[in-house]
Structure formats: C-alpha cells, structure tokens
C-alpha cells in the first residue's frame, strides 16, 4: 500500500551507484504515494551494503544466501516475485542495466505488472505516477501513466537521477531466501575481463577521434592522454590515418569503419559527410573545433567551439580529478 520496493544492484563486491539513484528518485515520489521505501538486497556476504542502503531506506530486506553468490536473473526473479506478492508495493524499481533488463520484463509478465522500462524521470501528479522515458535515440521524451493495477514496475536508467546524501536510518531485516535450491536451467559459469590488446574501434564504448585539426603527429600525445584518462580508444578521420598518425584500422568513415560508441569525442574534425556517415549513430557526440560552422556540430550533442589545444589538456586534467 503505497510502498516502493527498490532492488539494489551490486556486482563483484561493489554496490553500484544506480542503487542510490533509484532510492533518491523513490524518495521524491514516496510522499505522494504515502508508503515506505523498502530496499531489497539479494546476495551472499554483502552485509556491509545493507548498512549503506539503510541510509536511503525506511527498511532493507536482506536476503543473504550462498545461492546468490553470483547474479542469476532467474534466481533474482524468484525472490522478487515472492517479495512482491508478500509486500504488495505500489511501485517496484529495478536498474536498467545488463542485470536489470535480464530480469525485469520477465517479472512484469509473470506478475502481470504495468511496466515502463528505461525511465529517465519519475513524477507524480494527483497521486498518479508519471514515468518518463526517451524514444528515437534520446530525441523525444514520452510521459506515461499506469492504467492497470499496482504493483507497477519500472527500470531506471543510470545517471538519470543524481543520488542525494543519505538521510534515513532504515531497519535492516534479514529474511530467508524464498528460493531454496539452485536454478538448474541457468547457471553462472564465470566472469571474463576485457582483454587489452588488439583494438577494434567498432567495439569500443568510448572513442576519442582526431582530425586534421591536431596538425602534427607530436600533438597526438595530448590526445592519447585524454583517451587514457577515460579508458577511451583513439580513432581518427581519414586525414589522421592518411597522415600516418594512426593505423588505418582506426579510421572512422565510409571508407573506414562505422562505429556506434556510447561516447564519441571528435577533436579537430570538421565533419565531412563521409566521416559523419561513420559515426553519426554514436549515443553522445562531443565536438571540439574552433570553426563554429564545422559540419561536425550538426550531429554533435555537445559543442565546444574553441581552440582544442587550450581545451583538451584542461579537459584531461579535470577528468582525472573527477574520476579519482
């Protein structure tokens, strides 16, 4: 009755920030719903997380069982399903992450829950929740309402809500796992770390791309520093690979490769048509160029019209600071 159930997310001994972001979002609408914020923590030996989460919750339901030593969406679904049936919350929040998307839709079907995935905003008007999501690669916002009966389910996009400082003192309640034995039809085997080595720019999440604007090979040093500060891979326009500053397999464009990274930072690239064709589908494009009319700005999400030699070193410095 008016409660919000939030599934905390963790992996490899790290409680992920999105858990606090969801709890913050929950706290903004909880008054309208009139219930409690209840965090669900499922894991094995993650007791310290419960304490941290208690700072954001009215109650933490803590399932501590070796069955959950590693994430298994089928196992998590069983637990969530039981808890939802038991506690009848109004809203259930799961992170929209590789963990969350692997489970939430199945949970929604199982319990016949009204479901809005990948929300970037959550409002409440007249006691009604208004989940907001994006369409067409972030170009359009969409406001939804729930028509069916609670409990409602949303998955929450990372970094859409900024986590507040902890302000609550929730009680941590250890509960028995509703799941009694290992799931047989889906088994966790192992984790694999990314191998540093041969670089395929089409697989990189973050690309720093250079063009003619950097003028000489020796200036690649400041680009490389920027890239390593954010674990980015360096790519380039045809001008950069032509000039020999980068090997050909780093070329982005119609005669090179088409890339779709999360972040594409275009430095000193004018944005010729053939280059744009190779990167226009990147999720976020940041362009640094001193020419305000450079075509690259027509596809950029963020425009820095300035001298790259002044901006890039500072950017690297600031990024290093923030990431410490």
């Amino acid at each position: 009755m008016g409660d919000i159930l939030v599934l905390a997310e963790h992996r490899c001994n790290e409680l992920r920030e999105v858990s606090f972001e969801m709890l913050t979002a929950a706290s903004k609408v909880a008054p309208q719903l009139g219930g409690e914020i209840v965090t669900v923590l499922i894991g094995s030996g993650v007791g310290s997380f419960a304490e941290k989460l208690a700072g954001y919750s009215d109650k933490v339901l803590f399932v501590d069982d070796p069955l959950f030593a590693n994430y298994n969406s089928e196992a998590y679904q069983k637990v969530m399903s039981e808890l939802i049936k038991q506690y009848s919350p109004e809203l259930v929040m799961v992170a929209h992450t590789t963990q969350g998307v692997d489970m939430a839709p199945a949970l929604a079907v199982e319990l016949n829950m009204p479901f809005v995935p990948d929300i970037v905003g959550l409002g409440a008007a007249d006691g009604k929740l208004v989940p907001v999501r994006l369409y067409y690669q972030g170009k359009v916002n969409a406001d939804f309402i729930f028509k069916g009966q609670a409990p409602y389910l949303v998955t929450v996009r990372e970094s859409s809500f900024l986590a507040d400082e902890p302000s609550k003192k929730g009680a941590v309640e250890k509960i028995e796992s509703p799941l009694k034995e290992d799931i047989q039809y889906r088994k966790f085997v192992e984790y694999i770390e990314a191998i540093a080595g041969d670089v395929d720019i089409t697989q990189a999440d973050v690309l720093v791309a250079v063009g003619r604007g950097i003028k000489e090979e020796k200036n690649m040093a400041l680009i490389n520093e920027l890239a390593s500060s954010i674990n980015a891979v360096v790519a380039g326009s045809r001008a950069a690979t032509d000039a020999g500053w980068l090997p050909h397999d780093r070329q982005v464009g119609t005669s090179g490769k088409t890339v779709k990274p999360k972040v594409y930072i275009a430095i000193g690239i004018s944005g010729a048509f053939q280059h744009l064709a190779g990167m226009k589908s990147a999720k976020t494009i940041i362009a640094i160029n001193k020419d305000p009319n450079a075509p690259i700005f027509s596809v950029a999400d963020y425009a820095i019209v300035d001298d790259l030699f002044k901006v890039v070193p500072k950017l690297t410095e600031k990024l290093k600071e923030l990431r410490k």
Binding site: R212, R238, A239, D242, A243, G244, H248, Q251, T254, S255, G256, K257, T258, A272, F273, Q274, A277, P295
Partner: protein, 377 residues
C-alpha cells in the same frame, strides 16, 4: 559449377591476353599499391584459384579508371577481371561492412549513402527548380547523382547548374525523389545482380519521361547511362557538353571576369573513357580573365584521382602518397589558382588532398559549374 567458371574465362577472354604488360604499365595505382592487373589476368585462367584471388586486398585498389582497357592491344578489359573477382566475393556475402552497407543502401533507399529517399531533393530548397513530369515532353532531363544530392560539400554544384539553366532560359526538368542511383559504383563493386536490377528499373523510369536528352552532373552517371544502359531511349550528355553548346549559342552569357590561372583535371569517366576533352576546356577558355593551364598528364593520360571504382567505400592498404595529392602538388607547381574538375568524386578526393597538403590558402578545387556560377549573368 563448371559451366559458370568456364564462363569467367570466356567472359573476360582471358586466353586472348598476350601478357604484354601494357595494362600494368599504364595502371596509375601501381606507383602506390601492390596491384598488378596483368598477373590477375594470368592467374584467373586457373579456375581453382578464383576464390583465393577474390580474397586478395589489392583487387580493391583498382579505381576502374579503365586505362588498362584503353591501352590493351588485344581489346581486352583487365579491369573487368578485377570487377569479376570482386563479384565472386560479393556473391559469397563476405565483404567489407562499408561495401555491404553501401549496396544495401542502394537497394533499399536508392543511394549508397544510407540517406532516406525522401530527403534526396533537400539540396534544392529555396531554389526555383523545375521538376519534370513523366509523360510530358522535356528537352533536358537532369540527373543529379546521389553523391551530389546528399553531400553538403557538393550540393552547391547542383544549385549552380539549376541557376545557370534558369538564366539560360532553356527547357529542363529534374527527376525529383524518384531519381535512384545510376549504380555505376554498384557495378564496380561487383554486385552484378543489383546492377542489372537497377538498370532495369532506371531504364523504365527514365524512358517514362518524354525526354530529348538526359544531362548528368557526374561523369560516372554519364558513362554508365551511355554505355551500360542498352534500352535507354534518350541521348545522354554530360553537363559540360550541354553548357559548352549553350555558351556557343550565347544562351549562357558571361558577365563577370575571373582573373585566375585554371588547370583542368580530366576525369577518367569523362575523358579517357568517353573522349570528352574539349568541352570543359572550351567553357573555361571563354571566361574573361582566365588563363587555362594544362597538366603534362592531360586528356587520355590524366592521372586518376582515385575516387571511383568503389574507393569511396574501401580504403587502400598503401600508406604512400595518394594520387590526388600528387595531382594537387602538380597543379600548384604549374602555378594554378584553381584546379578545375567536372566530377563530384574528383572534387572530393582532390579537395581532401589539397587540405592534406596544406595548400588551401594557395589554391582552390572547384567544379566547373561552381566557376561558371560565379561568372554567368
């Protein structure tokens, strides 16, 4: 299986080759790549080698400039052997993703640039441009070209053409959004099946206009319509031919001066393949103030800019100086202010080369239509 491969030898008359080497001797990319087209003609005779040959990267270095075909004393076309090998790779489905995307784009959207059909005519926004109606008679049916229509760097060329034609007061009409890729590059990339389909569809479309002639902006479209579209009813002209005629008839009047030294770069698809050399020069020579310079490698010997033959979608492995860079260096050495071209691919490659060589302050690359646009009244 046997009969299909047998026809590769027959199709390209491989046994007619006397291995004289004139093809490789004239091939412009040999200075910077491993491509040895004479070897390919020879090796392709062993039908069991074809699949392996088709996987070699140097077959993509060919720009289809056709110098080899022009020079062959036996009238063979070594370039077609390379295109045939590309075709074997295409049929296997395992081709470079950039080539795959270009071909799928032609099939689905009628252009190789992954752009929607619906925005093909955006270049003419704000311009008083006439659209031809199928069935109605039109003297000059204008075929713009996918690259000119969609690339912001080149759209000005089409705009200039329309403005010139408007001022000349002649009868013309654009095709509009129905215009789809001439598929010259589809052919060159080796997708014969798609090419056949496009020829069929385009022929039906173009014949549906009661047009006296089709005028193209790109020499690639020009050459393909002229030589590879057997059922096309209308005559085909390149815009330089049309404009030269209009200048002669004083329908185009030049009202301004242009104090410039201009060197003309003969596009392979206009010059050595179709023998159109004089009309572009005629146009330039008519402009008051212009002195027309000539490359040593002019006319039939023009140095390919490496824009055609699928090179917009496939990079060479070579790190040596691009032919386009050599060309702009030569132009600058001649003292030219403007390197004039009459082909959109040449514009792109030569302009890129100009910037790579850091010569943009000293010289410009311009299409003849852009130059004409500045001086025509």
């Amino acid at each position: 299986m046997n009969s299909e491969i047998q026809s590769f030898i027959e199709k390209h008359d491989l046994l007619g080759c006397i291995q004289c080497g004139r093809c490789t001797g004239g091939c412009p990319v040999t200075v910077r790549t491993n491509l040895n087209v004479r070897r390919f003609v020879y090796d392709s005779i062993d039908e069991s080698m074809l699949d392996e040959l088709a996987k070699l990267p140097e077959i993509w270095d060919c720009t289809t400039c056709n110098t080899c075909a022009v020079r062959c004393p036996k009238g063979l076309k070594p370039v077609e052997v390379l295109i045939g090998l590309r075709g074997i790779l295409v049929e296997s489905g395992v081709i470079q993703p950039t080539v795959r995307d270009a071909l799928e784009s032609v099939f689905q959207e009628g252009n190789p640039w992954d752009k929607p059909k619906a925005t093909r005519m955006d270049w003419k926004d704000g311009l008083d441009a006439k659209i031809a109606e199928p069935g109605e008679s039109v003297e000059n049916l204008i075929f713009v070209c996918c690259t000119v229509a969609y690339d912001p760097k080149l759209q000005g060329i089409a705009r200039n053409l329309i403005q010139i034609l408007n001022k000349a007061g002649i009868d013309y009409g654009l095709i509009g959004e129905q215009e789809t890729c001439c598929s010259s590059e589809v052919y060159n990339l080796g997708e014969a099946g798609l090419f056949e389909m496009m020829v069929e569809d385009n022929t039906e479309l173009l014949n549906g206009y009661d047009a006296k002639r089709i005028v193209t902006v790109s020499p690639h479209c020009y050459s393909t319509f002229k030589n590879q579209y057997p059922q096309l009813k209308a005559d085909v002209l390149h815009y330089t031919e049309l404009c030269a005629g209009l200048l002669k008839d004083e329908k185009i009047v030049l009202t301004k001066e242009l104090q410039s030294k201009i060197v003309f770069h003969d596009p392979c698809y206009l010059g050595k393949q179709n023998n159109v050399f004089d009309e572009p020069r005629f146009i330039l020579s008519k402009i008051p103030g212009v002195s027309v310079l000539e490359f040593d490698r002019k006319r039939e010997r023009s140095l390919c800019c490496e824009g055609g033959g699928g090179k917009m979608w496939v990079e060479t492995e070579s790190r040596k100086e691009r032919l386009a860079e050599t060309r702009v260096k030569n132009a600058r050495e001649l003292g030219a202010d403007i390197l004039a071209v009459a082909c959109p691919f040449c514009v792109l490659t030569l302009d890129d080369a100009l910037k790579a060589k850091g010569l943009e302050e000293e010289m410009k690359v311009a299409d003849i239509l852009e130059i004409l646009g500045e001086v025509a009244g």
